[in-house]
């Protein structure tokens, strides 16, 4: 599901980043890579996302392009809720 739908304060793992080349690059360098754990800390308007220990504000358009999963299977062993 897109990160936009992830409930607040619930941890998930990034599955895919769907964006143009430029957007993807920006997100990758900030740590939004597949396999990274993310948590939405606040979502009033843009959202504040916790990724790899930093707080990144993301606009709505970006939130819908990051696909995450909360499933606790496969290689996502460490997903805690």
């Amino acid at each position: 599901m897109p990160l936009a739908m992830l409930p607040q304060n619930k941890e998930a793992v990034i599955v895919e980043v769907k964006g143009g080349k430029r957007l993807t690059s920006r997100l990758l360098e900030l740590g939004f890579t597949p396999g990274a754990k993310v948590k939405v800390l606040s979502n009033s308007g843009p959202a504040v996302v916790d990724v790899r220990g930093s707080r990144i504000a993301l606009g709505w358009g970006v939130l819908s392009r990051i696909i995450v999963s909360v499933d606790e299977r496969g290689d996502c062993q460490s997903v805690g809720i």
Binding site: E29, L30, P46, A57
Partner: protein
Amino acid sequence: MKGVTVKVLVSEKETIKVALIGNPNVGKTLLFNDLTGGRAHVGNWPGKTVEKKEGKYTFRGVKVELVDLPGTYSLTAHSVDELIAREFIVNEKPDVVIDIVDASNLERNLYLTMQLLELGANVVIALNKFDLAEGLGYQIDVKALASSLGVRVVPTVATTKKGVEELKQAVIEAARKKPSKYEVSYGRALDSVISKVEEVIVKDPTLSRFPSRWLAVKALEKDEEVLKLIRASPHANEIEKVVAEASEKLGDDPEVVLAEKRYEIIGSILSKALEREEKPVTFSDLIDRVLLNKYLGIPIFAVILWAMFTFTFEVSAPLSDLIDLAISWLGEVVNEALTHADTISNMFFIATGAEINDFLANLVAGWLPSLPEWSSNFASSLIADWMYTNLFQSELSSLITDGVISGVGAVLVFIPPIFFLFFALSILEDSGYLARAAFVVDRILYKAGLHGKSFIPLLLGFGCNIPGVMATRSIDSEEDRILTILVNPLMSCNARLPVYVLVAGAVLGAYATFGVFSMYVLGMVLAASMALLFRRTIPYFKKKPSHFIMELPTYALPTARNTLTHMWERGYVFVRKAGTIIVAGVVAVWYLSTHPWGLPIYWSHVATIGYTLEPIFRPLGFNWMSIVALVFGFVAKEMVVGTFGVLLGCEEEMLGTLLASYVFTPVTGLAFMAFTLIYIPCLATIGIIYRETASWKWTAFTVVYGIILAYLVALLIVSVGHLLGVESVYILNSLLRQIAAT
């Protein structure tokens, strides 16, 4: 690895070149100052609008030239900043690259380190904010980190200069003996793919100035600049073929795979070098729950903003007044001294002076029917006065007192509000709130077709449009950046306030304060409407505002040193850039208003401009004096006040009364205020707009749309005013008042 040659030995007394790089918000500015002692040469990267800062220091006999590279998260080809940084490392081959890493955020910060190592840079890591990391309960094994990366690592605390000497030592050591090279390994499968690409790239000697492995990785990532290089190579076909095959083998987007791998490598390094207790909610997050709250966020933001402006104005106003006084005193003293010297040589005129005055006064009164009736007595005395000064004042003394001294004065008066605004802003920035403010207003700005990051530039515009325009550099997308520059002059700067205060005070009576306030609101409303209009109508801006992505730094208590450093850096740039333009402009205005030499201002070049333009401004009810004032206001908007002073020949206290009697009605006064707000950005701002857009087209566009919009808005105010009959009410009022007074 071929290509990158790093000087292995630095003999004593040799100069070494060192570059400073790091993510945004790692304390780079402060560490630069720690290293150099604050002395820096600020310029621009050749052909770019990005600032280049250079400094020097000597350590144990070795001279070090330090270059500050732009703050970046990575070294892709997507942003100017990142390109500048990597081109510098590749082309200038600095002996050492100091990579400032935020110890409290190692994982993300080491991503840039990975890229630097891949680029073959001789890296020394400054592990900054080490105290903060310890406070958060992070235990960093510096030795383990250093050995796993194969570089020197020095813990530092830039705010207290801790570790700076050790860092200097490490830099010299690294320059003398490069540590064994660290190869970023992506695992066997990926490495073999990269090697294949590397093998064909090595065939082209023209590409040898880049590390071949780095080129291979970037080619796989489809880095635009590297692909361009490859296309120009005689082996282009072969290389492209191998890259295509390799990409296919990787399956997914190689860029994503490689980034994922890099973070994996960082993870494994940190598993050895970092121990931390899991802290689910930090103090910073708790503050954010309040400050970024859906309902509280905007009201809190408004209060902070209000506090900031109140602080700026309240503290700076008396200082500005003091400077103003000092400058006029200086002008008088210098003038007197110079006039004294001139008097002897001008003795000749004393006998005939009075006759000439009479003659000219009659001539002027006869020649200028457009002067109001009251002028006959007033003007002749004024002109006599003017002639007197001019006959006894040489051109040189006039140039010095009215041109240079008042020009420098015009700049100095701005220093208190600008510096206090920057001071307040630096506190907000260093505390981490400024990034949150952009976050809070993004929703609102988005609706106007602007970007959350447009907020800081627009906010600065209230102080002065010059730093406002310069601050647009933090906006990633060029379209968003230019759009923000175009509407920035509509933010009512400090210089316009005295004009509002004068005119509103003169003609709006009890509504003066409201009138002044309404100008600020008008500016904001127009900025939003224009941004939206340009977004909708100009093809260049057709796209939606670019995505909002912004790091929110951890809240921190601003330190005095940090805040003052930031204030000084911003303020200094303003004084240097604006200062020269304003002084030059004031001298130009001095020339136009005093030549042909010896004649009163009514016959000067600038008056000619006023008379010529009068028909155009007749619908707005502006007379030639207002037009001359506006012409001067082009240099710096607060000059409008002084110009009225000269034209009406009176001190500032009387100015309001004279303006109300002879120049403006309430409606035309309001229209004039709006015109002052909107028309042409001042000379210095135009200069900056040109520098920042690097385009005459956009600069001219800003000027032209400003004039047209100003005219339309002023016309609207006048028309509505007349329709409502406000005019007649006021005329009646003032008539009654006059009758009562007599």
